[in-house]
Symmetry: C2
Subunit: 410 residues, 2 copies
Amino acid sequence: MTQPEGTVVAAELEFAPGLAALAELCVTRGVNLQPQQELIVSAPLEAAGLVRPLARCAYARGSKSVTCLYEDPALVREHLAGSAEALDYAPVWLHRGIAEGLRAGAARLRIVGPYPDILSGVPADRIARAHSALADASRAEEAASSAVNWSVAPFVTGSWAKQVFPGEAEEQARRMLWNAVFQGTRVLDADPLQAWDTGIRALNARRDALQSRGFRYLRFFDGRTDLRLELAEGHRWMGGSVVAKNGVEGIRSIPCEEVFTALRGNGTAGRVFFSRPLALGGVLVEDLYAEFEHGSVATLRASRGLETFERLIASDEGARRLGEVGLVPAFSRVASTDVLFRNPLLDRNAASHVAFGQSPSSALQRLEHCAANESAMHIDCMLGHPSMQVDGITPTGNAIPVMREGAFVF
Amino acid sequence: MTQPEGTVVAAELEFAPGLAALAELCVTRGVNLQPQQELIVSAPLEAAGLVRPLARCAYARGSKSVTCLYEDPALVREHLAGSAEALDYAPVWLHRGIAEGLRAGAARLRIVGPYPDILSGVPADRIARAHSALADASRAEEAASSAVNWSVAPFVTGSWAKQVFPGEAEEQARRMLWNAVFQGTRVLDADPLQAWDTGIRALNARRDALQSRGFRYLRFFDGRTDLRLELAEGHRWMGGSVVAKNGVEGIRSIPCEEVFTALRGNGTAGRVFFSRPLALGGVLVEDLYAEFEHGSVATLRASRGLETFERLIASDEGARRLGEVGLVPAFSRVASTDVLFRNPLLDRNAASHVAFGQSPSSALQRLEHCAANESAMHIDCMLGHPSMQVDGITPTGNAIPVMREGAFVF
């Protein structure tokens, strides 16, 4: 870790109001913690300055327990440098324990603070093996999570801030990125919770309107891009709040500016000029252009980073097709920060996007025979911008305006 | 937390050689981690500077996984300030998860960094309730731990350092306490592992010699103190290394200078002038004197802190009796630091001691009908000093010298 931990304290003091407001947002709107409900948090070691107000807020609401599983990036790094046995193992006992806690009624909050520097120099196959072992080990936890109120929110690590603002000293980079995150999450608004309630109501209405129109296709066009996406059979429009199986209504992603759904794997046609650079680990893919034939990428171009992108979408057949579409106003709060966050949790909320690879299972009424897309990959690519138009096309071929000049029509 | 986390970094750099050596000692001699064995560590958040070299050392030995469960004292504090439901609950899923990991073959290392400041101002009954809930929740983990190689080692937190050296600035207090801990654990010796191997061989030989003598009583006397302790039926002398049920030989306590065993609850007679102050939370008990009748304390005096001590030993019947004796040379490495550590992990290794309350189950061949002492309390009180004599008395009444002038005779 390059960043001196001492600066965390300065940031904690400087950003205490924002961190407290973000904590309250996570507890009261994100997971919407219920009285006496237990809360299981995971967070990077650096994020204690957010975890502590989270715990205070949770106990103030009557939580019976807040446990934070702090992740130490230095230990992740040691693990990635370990033996073959280490690479293929992840602590299944821990994830089974979390699953037991969730089944017993706990809510789940993941604080995501990327630390891209720890991966630098680690061979990609080692990362992939460790990732696969972790996915296997956490299967029970994932299954249990799906039944409870859970949420994900960002934390600005020094490593992430330096990646976003490489020209700045770390303290300044951290300040700039926190400011953008606070702005994108509205937590420094006069009444952030009310702003969220208003925003979520609007998103829910938009999501329900899209569902009720019963579109079969979406068409993105702006004179250069002309892309037709076929929605998956039995697709559900998602976004805004979600009522979990335990009956608690929460918001799974902070920030939250998008409505999204699943695409039919073979149903994409046309061409697309992506509107924002795409960050893949340390590599930036710029001016990406794609043409689709029979649902699959036929032509790819980019001014930079093309090889990295090509390697990723060559990993399986589904990675060459699109699995998801997300609609975001071109003037969303995240977009207004004018920052490329290099992280999907934020960048997804800055512009309309499509994802190469796996369709989101939450956006499907059933998983069998739905012809949605399957892949080990899921790569969000932004195509929205202030002069993009989106039509919805009904099964009978009627085209209905959905977005005009980057804004929703309904 | 009063201590600025920034000072941790300075300490980490300043103490890196000591921390690296302590880490190696914990991994190679404490838990004696086996090739491919998983390691489950718990440690305070502040202790990352020790946990990271621990992980490096463990992976270098071929460990397949090192997980650290970092404990955030600020969250403990929030929990202690929580609702009644919170006080009576502890995350049983986490301890069951750890138990599963141990049953699957992991070793266990607890890094103990006391943070006394978080308890200040918290009512004693709240602490007791939370403690009791934690004890219940961690029963499965304790049972699983007893079958594997495990160890406990200290970490100097800012809060602990300030308690030991209240007159010093925190950075200086931390430096002074680390120096004492490094000295007491020999980690800055020319060849610490060899020093440990020599020391442990000597302790093992002493432990086995005490066992083979088959003493029924020990007598401490120095002209003023004259205390006769009856050893529990079926007592085992412990200390030095232990072979766990999984066959791995390790050292359960770092530092390790004592041999100890269990006492018969009703078998104590005589009087004792304790030789070192006793730290009970924030209270110091000084010049403690006790007389025993029918195995139980009949007279107690102290120049300071008497009320606190009396309240603690009034908590149950067994707390007024002695349950354990530990023999430590008056010139042990820990004693040579001349520091009152206010923590039993260190202070137990500075002088011979007896414990009011619970007998150690590890020092009993069987737990039923052994007439050892039972209590919810266990309070170590130091009575050893450079002119203390100890005799062992055989069942036939022969008195055999065990310690003379604070040193072992055999």
